[in-house]
Structure formats: C-alpha cells, structure tokens
C-alpha cells in the first residue's frame, strides 16, 4: 500500500441518536422491512375502510346472489373460478352467492381485530406476570409458576369447545349481539390460554437479567423496584417480546380458522378469514379459488408480519452495527 493513495478520512458528523431514531433509520434502510411494513399498513387500512371500499365497488358481503349460481350444479358458482366477473371480482361463495371480495375485506377486519387485540392483551399480561415471577421469586414465583402449569395442562381445544356456549351466552346476556359475543369470546380464550407461554418465557429471561450487575447497580442508586422492573429490565425484553408477537399473530389467525372449522369460532353471517378457509375446504375440488383467496391473504399477512418483526427486532438492538 503506498502512502499517496491514502485518502483523508471523511469527517462524518456522528450525532447521537435516540434508540427510536436509530431504529427508524435502520428500518428505512431495510428494503424487506419497508415492503413488509407497507403491506401491513395497506392491509390494516383496507380492513379499516372495508365498508367504504365495498360500497364504492358496489359489492356487499351479506347479499345473496342467486344469479351467480348454477342450480343444475347444486348451487355451485355458475362461471369458472368461482364465477369471477366484473360484478364479483373474486367470485362468489358456493350455495349462497355472496361476494368473496367483500367477505375477504370484511373478514380481514374481524380476523385482524381478534389477532391484534388478543396478542396485545396477552403480551401485556404475560410480560407483567412473568417479570413479577422472575424478579420477586420465592412465593410469587411458586404461585405464578403453578398457575401457568395448571393452565398449560388444560386440554385447550376441548376447553374451548366446551366453554364456548357458556361464555358466549353470558356475553349475549350482557347485551352483545351473538356474532360480536363470539369475537369477544375468542379474544378472551386466546388471552387466557396464551399468557402462560409468554409469562414463562419472560420469567426465564428475567431470572438471568436480575442477576446482572446493572440491576444491582440500579438497586445501589436507590431505585424503587417498580423502576428497576420497567426501566431497567423491560427494555432488555423487547427482542423476545417482538418475536413472540410476530409469531403468535399468525398462530392466532390460524387458531381462529381451526375453531371456525370446529364450529365454535365466528358464526354466520359475519365473515372472517378463518371461517372462509374452514368453509372452503368442502368445495376445494370444485371451486379451488375459494380456498386460495383467503389462504393467499393469510399467507401474505403472516409473511409480512414475520419479515417486519425480524427487522424491528434487529433495528431495536443497540448493539447491532450502526446502520
């Protein structure tokens, strides 16, 4: 290497960035994250404005359309591909002739609402309980540990089926419409059976974090326990929490589909992606597009969640290289 090729180091202004600014900057440079994030925002916007969009196109998720069905084929869609047409861009539902695009858009509202709400509540409950169990230890840990063991030992699917009418009736008695009651029922059970997993994960992390010297140092500056838990320990838990959220989001959408298939999920006439998937299986050989439409939508959302979650976790790690 000769000396005269040496270029003076460019004087880069290294400004201190807060973690949020740093994460935002890294995310903007990550093309995968940008695409995934855009997709997710689009999906959420579509779900939010589903009534507006459908009325603009002139479709409706609840109206039966006998003209799109062929009575001679047992009320299957008259045209190919589920009778796709300008009138019904993604075809119609067999037997009823309801518009699939409209049901897909409305279904996104229900499915995403259930998934997001359950995951957020689960994350809060599981994190708080896990932090307390891990940090307090002793009796707290024993009680919480046995509690989670008990819940995890429940045969969940059986419980879900058995509890469904009881809880739904309670909610209806409280003044909710039956289909809305089902939505709340699903959220309640997903949270109820979901938090123990997260609480265990968090507890394990906290057990090792609380022995770290920075926690001792924080005690030594006279910080109260609440502050240590939520200002010192919680920031170290973001990575596993984000992974948990991105993994459980698709799991819950899939669980919602399973329950719909078993007849304890979303009920008529409300559409959801899970319910569409469950209904479509019976018609797979004759109308395959009916299965592929909600399936593809689910795949895109799940994939986008995973890519975005990964990127956010990387971006939030201050130890990763500056980007």
């Amino acid at each position: 290497m000769s000396a005269d090729t040496a270029v003076p180091a460019p004087t880069v202004e290294v400004a201190g960035l807060s973690l949020r600014q740093l994460a935002w900057r890294r995310l903007r440079r990550d093309r995968g994250a940008l695409i995934a994030g855009t997709v997710l925002i689009l999906v959420f916007l579509i779900a939010l404005f589903a009534p507006l969009i459908t009325s603009m196109i002139g479709i409706n998720p609840y109206d039966f359309d006998a003209t799109a069905l062929d009575p001679s084929k047992g009320s299957l869609p008259a045209g190919p591909w589920g009778s796709m047409s300008w009138e019904h861009p993604l075809g119609v539902e067999p037997l009823t002739g309801r518009d699939l695009l409209a049901r897909l858009l409305y279904g996104a509202r229900v499915s995403l609402f259930i998934a997001v709400t359950s995951v957020i509540i689960t994350a809060i409950v599981g994190t708080v309980v896990g932090i307390i169990a891990g940090y307090k230890g002793g009796r707290w840990d024993t009680v919480i540990g046995r509690g989670t063991d008990l819940l995890l030992a429940f045969p969940q699917i059986l419980m879900l089926i058995a509890l469904s009418p009881v809880i739904t009736q309670r909610l209806v008695a409280m003044g909710l419409a039956p289909d809305v009651a089902r939505v709340f029922y699903l959220i309640i059970v997903f949270v109820f059976f979901g938090w123990p997993y997260l609480a265990r994960l968090v507890r394990g992390q906290v057990l090792s974090l609380r022995e770290r010297e920075f926690v001792e140092a924080s005690v030594a500056i006279g910080a109260p326990t609440r502050r240590i838990l939520f200002k010192e320990i919680l920031p170290n838990l973001w990575a596993p929490l984000i992974v948990y959220v991105t993994i459980s989001m698709p799991t819950i959408i899939a669980a919602e589909a399973t329950l719909a298939y078993l007849g304890v999920g979303i009920i008529e006439p409300t559409p959801s992606w899970g319910k569409m998937l469950a209904d479509s299986v019976r018609f797979f050989t004759v109308v395959p597009s009916y299965l592929f439409i909600p399936g593809t939508a689910l795949f895109i959302v799940v994939f986008a969640f995973n890519v975005f979650g990964d990127a956010v976790r990387d971006a939030l790690d201050p130890r990763a290289g500056r980007g």
Binding site: A15, F214, E216, A217, I221, G222, D317
Partner: protein, 335 residues
C-alpha cells in the same frame, strides 16, 4: 438524622451466607471508621470479605442467603443494620453510593448512557426529564467525558473502558453522596487509564469532601491514594493503620508477606517471594488466628481459640496478632 460521631462507623460486623454446603462466614468482626474527606483502603485477597463488606454497607446483600448476625453499621449515627428497605433506599445513591468494578456489566446495555446518568436525578423524582438531562450532561462533563451533549444518546458498548468507568462515576457522584464506595474501580482497566480514574476519584473527593472507601487488591493504588488501610484476611481485619506507617513498619506477618510479594523496581530478585498456601475455606475457618497455617512465625496460642486480640502497636495502628509487638519491633523470619 442526628449528626453524631463519625461519618461512617462499622463495628464488629459479621456477615454469614447460607449455602448448600453449610454456613459461610464471609466477614468476621470487621471494624473501621470513616470521616469526611478521608480515604480508607480495604485491602485483601479474593474471598477475604472486602466486597461483602461493601455490599453490607450498601444494604445490597442477597437477602435470601445473607444475614448479619452481629455488628453495626452507623451512618452519621443512624444504624443501617436492620434498617427498613424504604429508608435504606433514601440513603442509597444520595448519601452512600458505590462505583462497581466492571462498568460494562454495571451499565444497562440497552439504555443510553445519558439516560442512565440522568436516572439518578429522576429516581429522586424532583426533576423533569429536561432538567435531569441538563444536570446529567453537566456531571458527565465534570468527570471528563468529552462532548457529553453529543454522546448523551450513545450506548455503553460505544464507549471505551475508561470512559465507561467515568460514566459509572458520573452516575454515582451525581447527588454528591457523602460516602462513596469504590469496589475495585480500576481492575478492569489498563494501567494508564487506572491512574486517570484514581486521579478523578481523588479530585472529586477534594471538591466534595466525600469519604471514600476503596476496595482493592492492588497495593500500588493503595499507596498513592489512601489515608488509612485495613488489611483483610478470611473476613477479619488483620492490620489497620495509617498508610505510610503500614508501608514502612508492619505489625502483622500477613501484611509483611503481602508487601514482600510486590516486586521492587530497584532490587534484583530471583523468584518473587509469595505467601505459601491458600486462604482458608470459609465454610470451616480454623480455630485461633485464621492465618496460622500460612504464617512464617506461628507460636502455640495461634492454633487455638480465642483469636488473637487487636493490639495497638502505635496510636491508630492496630494488628490482630499475638506477636504484633515483636513484628512491629522488626522481628522477621526468613522464608
């Protein structure tokens, strides 16, 4: 709080740990006093009870296994042993603070350095976020962190070892505590940085009149900064006194052995003399003087209880040895 007696007074402190193998007596009758502006060095090998003493003063002994069966720690006359956690919390950081050995592990890896320094102001709850930030930047610049406003949002891993220790010190002196415990503050640093950090601590002490407890096994550090030394062995103070006096005239065979094992720059030596053997297992400290197994000049009473008395050989100079007077008078046994 009554303002009586010395700044900090530790008297006959005992600390025990319950372990699976039995009860470990980590500290067995530690006593010393500390006045404002004074530096006392607690010197000893690993496992001699130095850090446990510091934790006991801070009240951060692991509550599940550690007990203080005997002894007292008084801060300006207030008894700290058995003090309610809520009251202790008021003292920590504000009155008694502690600089940890390894700043990298003592700083939260996912919180910016500035946040951690301003935390000290925020914990007390009487400053807004903006005020705390300004105060933190001031302290950071005070401890010699260049351009603290710009580095405020950086993370611990982006700092060098010496700068990290400065951050740690900034946090701990933020509220101008009257007692500062430094638990091997320079062990994790290289030599030139060690000197800078010690200078910084001394300078801060001169400004604020803080009483400094320096825990170390580094005899060189001790000589340059301490006023008094307490030499610990197996949880006991073997010798205590003025630093110059102890360096010149020891009254305990253990201290003699320790000082002999320092290489001298002006002497040609073959093999460096070392104290043979290992410190005793604290699960079963032998009767009598804990040092008798390694001592070069033991006599019969050394092997039996009671332990030797803490003999005064000169004003303010004490030694726990049956032969303290003889050692002080210059008697040595060649090894």
């Amino acid at each position: 709080m009554s303002d009586t007696g010395p700044l900090l007074e530790v008297r006959d402190l005992h600390v025990r740990f319950r372990t699976r193998d039995g009860v470990v007596s980590a500290v067995n009758g530690m006593s010393f006093t500390l006045d404002a502006g004074e530096t006392i060095a607690i010197l000893g090998e690993s496992g001699s009870g130095k850090s446990v003493t510091a934790q006991a003063i801070m009240g951060i002994l692991p509550s599940k296994t550690a007990t203080i069966p005997q002894g007292s720690i008084r801060y300006r006359g207030t008894e700290l042993v058995g003090l309610r956690e809520r009251d202790y919390r008021q003292l920590r950081g504000a009155k008694i603070a502690m600089v940890f050995q390894d700043a990298l592990s003592a700083l939260n890896p996912v919180t910016s350095v500035g946040r951690q320094v301003s935390e000290m102001f925020r914990v007390r709850g009487d400053m807004s976020r903006r005020q705390a930030k300004a105060a933190a930047i001031e302290v950071m610049s005070h401890v010699g962190i260049p351009d603290p406003a710009r580095r405020f949002n950086d993370y611990p891993h982006q700092f060098s070892g010496g700068m990290r220790q400065r951050v740690m010190i900034a946090t701990m002196i933020a509220l101008r505590p009257s007692v500062l415990i430094a638990d091997e503050p320079t062990t994790a640093l290289d030599v030139t940085v060690q000197a800078q950090i010690m200078d910084l601590l001394k300078e801060l002490q001169r400004e604020t009149g803080t009483g400094l407890i320096l825990i170390t096994h580094d005899l060189g550090v001790v000589a340059s900064v301490a006023d008094r030394i307490a030499v610990m062995y197996a949880g006991r103070v073997m010798e205590q006194g003025n630093v110059d006096e102890i360096y010149q005239r020891q009254a305990n065979p253990y201290t003699v052995g320790l000082l002999e094992s320092i290489p001298q720059i002006d002497e040609r030596v073959g093999r460096l003399p070392a104290i043979p053997g290992l410190p005793p297992n604290l699960l079963a400290v032998p009767p009598g003087c804990p040092y008798h197994l390694r001592c070069a000049m033991p006599i019969d009473p050394c092997f039996e209880d009671p332990a030797p008395p803490f003999t005064q050989v000169a004003p303010g100079h004490h030694s726990m040895c049956w032969r303290a007077e003889e050692v002080y008078a210059g008697e040595r046994v060649a090894r």
